[in-house]
Amino acid sequence: MRSIFRVAGTSNRNHYIYCVVEESLVVKIGNVWYTNFMKIQVIISVLACKLTRFAIRLLGRGGTDFPGRVALKLCPNLLGFLAKDVTTILVTGTNGKTTTSRMIEQSLLDSGISFFANKSGANLLSGVTAEFAANSTWTGKCRYTHALIESDEAALKQISSYVDAKVIVVTNVFRDQLDRYGEVSHTLENLKIGISHSPNAVLCLNADDSLCTSLADGVQNPVIFYGVNTPVYENRVEELSDAPYCIHCKHEYVYDYVTYGHLGGYRCPNCGYQRPQPSVCVNKILQSDMDGTQVVFQVDDRLEKAKIHLPGGYNIYNACAAMTVGKALGLSVKTVAQSLDHFACGFGRMEKFNLGQAQMRMILIKNPAGCNQVLNFVTDFSQPFIFVVCLNDRAQDGKDVSWIWDVDFEKLVQMGDVLTHLYVSGIRAEDMAVRFLYAGMPREKITVMKDYTQLLKVCTTQENPIYCMPTYTAMLELRGIISKEYGYKNFWE
């Protein structure tokens, strides 16, 4: 054995050592040593992954997960090999993962860093493995120095056991699809395990989210907190708090201000647990309109103005997370701030389409917290618009649609004639229609239209702008028809 040149990870699940024995590679993952045999296995699985992906694309399909599952069958540790020399940034949390990743992506591009990202939204172990394979040579060497990976909250613990992350961002923790993730405490537990596999990673945590900041308790990782020092909405929707009671002593929190949901300047009057002072924060909101928000960031002692070219208070948080990753990677504050003005938003995240004469913005919805934030944004409009909601109940959407009753759609009804008409679609369109009826929407303003092609046809004839809120699988279907009929890129391109 000539030399052991790297030891990474201390937790049992992430323990790998590799060394060079007479010019051949020997790698230890877990308790097992692998030799050249393993290398052959890697080559075969990378090739299998690339070929399946190519075949799926030839068929004109967007399967992003399947090639990874094939590769993992052939080589369960594949991700560990592919990622071992790559500086990886993991982005996780309930809401804002994709938008935050697109912002970070632009800042990496503008900083001249060589990287790839899992843009298609495949954020489970198999999808991430496939993305690494696609960006590696057939011998398993990554073509880039950095990887920007969006990770599902529950999948983080798997991904982080193979990847020695340099930075982990947790955007926020809200109640999400209960049939998939269980209670908030369960999501937090999963995130904690995920972080424990990456003891060297810099944690970028949302200081305004008491659930998120609790992830810093008792870990050795360097932590950078980020937050918003000021309320973001003048007239917020009514929403339930997902964390009204202190995570440590179960007393009710007191808030100096609330930005949205359970986020804001919280403190526990009993045990003193409180919002940590963020070192990256938004100090001031200068202006906000339908196209974006102008803010002043403070990074340590430095002030930096920036224009975030996506509207909505929640995107201020996403931008703040991107600034924090910039700090963790040592990027220029100015470069990162400027990148916020021209990043490409993720598919279905406030994405703009021209459908014939009509303009549509598509905004993905998946849980009450995210949906309420979209309403906070649209209820500021004074120009007439049309609203479309597409509610599906497949596994990826959440099989339980009762969350629509936790969304303050009543606020939309209060807008009166500014909302000219409402179309409800998707597998559970009827449930959505009932929700709006009970929110007080006049019956004649609600149209149930389950067929997407017909729905999009109706949209093209509208004079007023259309705001379309689909759940995940509804978004993929709508996006597919729009790509085909109106010449937009497919989501995997």
Binding site: V184, K399, V401
Partner: protein, 243 residues
């Protein structure tokens, strides 16, 4: 006419759309010109049964349930029992339903004493019972109730109470004896959360009738246009029947 609704622990027991049931009760009264006032009673706040004509209690997360047990140790347990014996209608969903029973035994052997207002108990299990489901309703012969259940507790009814109905699809109280929910005095307990009442307007009107009859001696609710509600109900009923 007026109905006063009490929403018990609205900030704690509010899991997944449970307030939809309150919205439904309120709107179906307003649409008929009956005034309605809803008040929340939370931790540390007194519950005076004589101030209310109908009580609602929803489901919650385990974390918050612990906060709640401390509050119930005080006077509230006696007051809730008295209210139920006095015939005030209670609609209790999921965690709130379990809480009206005798006890909850976790899968690893810890036992928590609950309010004990109704004769049943719940045992935690490792398996979660999740999905759309359907059951009959003994108060409304011929009507099928559709809902969504998501619970790991298995509830077993005592001899002095009746189930709300019989499970047609899904798990119900425990996945074993085909019962769903509980009926005792004017208590309606069920695992069907979120949009139970909006999608089952007949059940909503039945509970309102019970409350109004108790208060005013008699009550004949005007029919409403339930076409949208019935569409949502029929969609789920036929989907479940195809399974």
């Amino acid at each position: 006419m007026e109905l006063r609704i009490c929403h018990l622990y609205p900030d704690v027991l509010n899991l997944y759309g449970d307030r939809g049931n309150v919205i439904c009760l309120e709107q179906r009264l307003r649409w008929r010109g009956i005034s309605v006032e809803t008040s929340g009673v939370s931790i540390g706040q007194p519950f005076c049964p004589e101030n209310y004509d109908l009580c609602f209690i929803g489901g919650g997360q385990d974390f918050e349930q612990e906060v709640l047990l401390a509050d119930l140790k005080g006077e509230k347990t006696q007051q809730i029992k008295a209210a139920i014996e006095d015939g005030i209608p209670f609609l209790a969903i999921c965690g709130g339903y379990q809480m009206l029973g005798q006890s909850y035994k976790t899968w690893d052997g810890h036992q928590f004493d609950f309010i004990g207002a109704v004769d049943f108990y719940t045992v935690g299990s490792a398996q979660r019972m999740i999905g759309n489901y359907m059951f009959t309703c003994e108060d409304l012969p011929g009507t099928k109730i559709v809902g969504f259940e998501n619970h790991s507790g298995k509830t077993y009814l005592g001899p002095s109470v009746k189930p709300m109905g019989k499970v047609l699809k899904g798990y119900g109280n425990n996945g074993e004896d085909k019962t769903e929910g509980v009926r005792y005095q004017n208590v309606f307990g069920t695992y069907s959360h979120g949009c139970l009442l909006p999608k089952n307007p007949q059940l909503c009107d039945y509970i309102l009738t019970v409350a109004l009859t108790r208060k005013y001696g008699q009550c004949q609710l005007q029919p409403l246009d339930d076409s949208l509600e019935n569409n949502a109900h029929h969609y789920m009923q036929s989907r479940l029947e195809r399974q």
